[in-house]
Symmetry: C2
Subunit: 341 residues, 2 copies
């Protein structure tokens, strides 16, 4: 059986089934990051995550600059730490590269990585360099800390909770269309074209929002949108044992997604639901705590809005502006299939 | 400039120069693992390392089984944790793979990884799967803990200290000869052939020895032999600001290295000095503490012996059985050049 016939999530489940635990593993495989108890009784627990960026798959040299590629390799990990409500601290960078690669590319990758690390107070503390005859791979492990008892998991959502999302969605998926389909559409304003490109190659992790939401104490479940809103919401629902209903009119679809989708004859809603790589935070709170959660995000100059609610009925549904409700497939990015799954 | 023109160590120095520090980074880039202060005042500090195994470069499917490849991906990281005198705890596994890869290979890799993890009490707590059109890459981050104040660094060696090594060296390099040169030599006993192959594909990390040496309190500097005895001793000397003189007659050259080298008309001494991947521990102690260090290793059923001493004169020298002393180049494995550098 080929790996892509199983797909990413089936393969992960197969490889990690029945993993042995240690009592100091507070949270293992299956959330945005692991939570580990290094020093029982201490104020903080350790949080750890890893994510890789692969040339030709996650990024295209030419569409993104080396600096952008390096910064994104850290940003996607910062987003996972943010999704736990944790503070990022230390990074390890493992490069696999063809020996013929121009060192100027690596200089740029590292410059971008280090620039973003500085902005978020992250120290590079280790790494590795290995040669291969394949593409450049930038594999990052990011470590951080969370206040004990304030970890935000995927599994705490309850029926009736409001579903919220930070920022706007769909622009990163619009950026993928721009990368893969040339020429660029004439009909789209240059500012929006650059906005879509930037959303894809230079995502802003919601670290401040994640920490503010953790500190608010009202969030019941959280993750980041890496695979696509529908698929990531399905992950949250599966972990919480609930379903969800989204309001189509409430989705904060980015203006760049709307414009690029229109130019290519695509659905902006489909980009927003299934496109992936938004790196926004998706979270749930009890209805009476919505104002408090929104206030926490505003206090760090972020934005968030209610987009739906958790339901006892499992599965995802979308309420359209005309009042009709339809089922939504939890489709999104599968890293092994390179297609919506 | 191509990456292989710079070489691994020059490139690492270039990419990591002037890294910004945090006060909680006790030990950053440049040792076998980083040491991080998650909980000031706690009994333990966090230790973190990462190392990747690349198909076609670090392992050959066919020479090693998938189980051996998976176990080695963890073993090389266990060796780095051992070299700090630390206890391994938690692993993250990042796989980059061609989508066409047979899942049975991954099943085997994970089975081998998990078998060794169980033996050393390590929990798999996270990971990532990414697709590429290149070779299989198994990138592992291993986290552990060390008693505060008992970290064994590379930099503590002092002039006059004895240089010691655990186990035996050279067999892993002999295993590389077997992997690359066929047919297998008739003249070598089958047991020794398998011993050389096993040393290459299934190294035993010296975790118990590392922890026992840390607990002894007498070790001044330590690292593991991954690049080759001469090169790794040069790293220890550079970090400690000293030189070293080795006794050729004292080197514990593995019988498999001697036999395979003879069959191929190669020098067993050269395999032992420059071959790499022994994953033994190389460490230094004051002369009056040699017995105590040897006792600590014996208490965990390991072996170690004195192979030389640290000198004020920089550089590496080898005293041959006839009493002549010659300079030794700190040659060994360069992961970008694939040749002795």
């Amino acid at each position: 059986v080929r790996a892509d016939e199983l797909g990413e999530f089936t393969l992960i489940a197969r490889l990690t089934s029945g993993l042995e635990a240690r009592p100091d593993v507070l949270l293992g495989v299956g959330d945005d990051a692991a939570a580990l108890d290094l020093a029982p009784g201490a104020a903080h627990v350790l949080v750890a995550t890893c994510d890789a960026q692969v040339a030709g798959s996650h990024f295209l040299l030419g569409f993104a600059t080396p600096e952008e590629i390096g910064a994104k390799a850290l940003a996607v990990n910062l987003s996972d730490i943010a999704a736990m409500g944790a503070e990022p601290l230390w990074a390890l960078v493992s490069l696999t590269l063809p020996p013929s690669l121009d060192v100027a590319v690596l200089d740029g990758v590292y410059a971008g990585f280090r620039r973003l690390a500085r902005r978020y107070g992250v120290a590079v503390v280790g790494g590795n360099i290995a040669a291969s005859d394949g593409p450049l791979v930038i594999d990052v492990t990011l470590l951080g800390r969370a206040a004990r008892g304030a970890l935000l998991r995927r599994s705490g959502g309850r029926v009736g909770d409001a579903v919220l999302v930070t920022g706007a969605i769909g622009a990163a998926a619009a950026g993928v269309l721009l990368a893969l389909q040339t020429p660029l559409p004439d009909a789209v304003d240059a500012t929006l074209l650059e906005r879509a490109r930037a959303a894809q190659v230079a995502p802003e992790p919601r670290v401040a929002e994640g920490r503010a939401l953790a500190a608010s104490g009202v969030v019941t479940a959280m993750l980041d949108i890496s695979d696509g809103l529908a698929q990531d919401l399905a992950h949250l629902c599966a972990a919480s044992g609930v379903g969800a209903e989204l309001e189509a009119a409430a989705l904060p679809i980015d203006a760049a997604a709307t414009a690029v989708a229109a130019a290519y004859g695509r659905s902006a809603l489909a980009l927003a639901l299934g496109g992936g790589e938004d790196y926004e935070l998706l979270f749930t709170v009890a209805p009476e705590h919505v104002e408090q959660a929104l206030g926490a995000v505003q206090d760090v100059e972020g934005t968030a809005r209610v987009i739906g609610r958790l339901t006892a009925e499992v599965g995802l549904r979308l309420r359209e502006p005309d009042g009709n409700v339809r089922e939504v497939e939890p489709s999104g990015w599968d890293h092994l299939r390179h297609v919506d799954s």
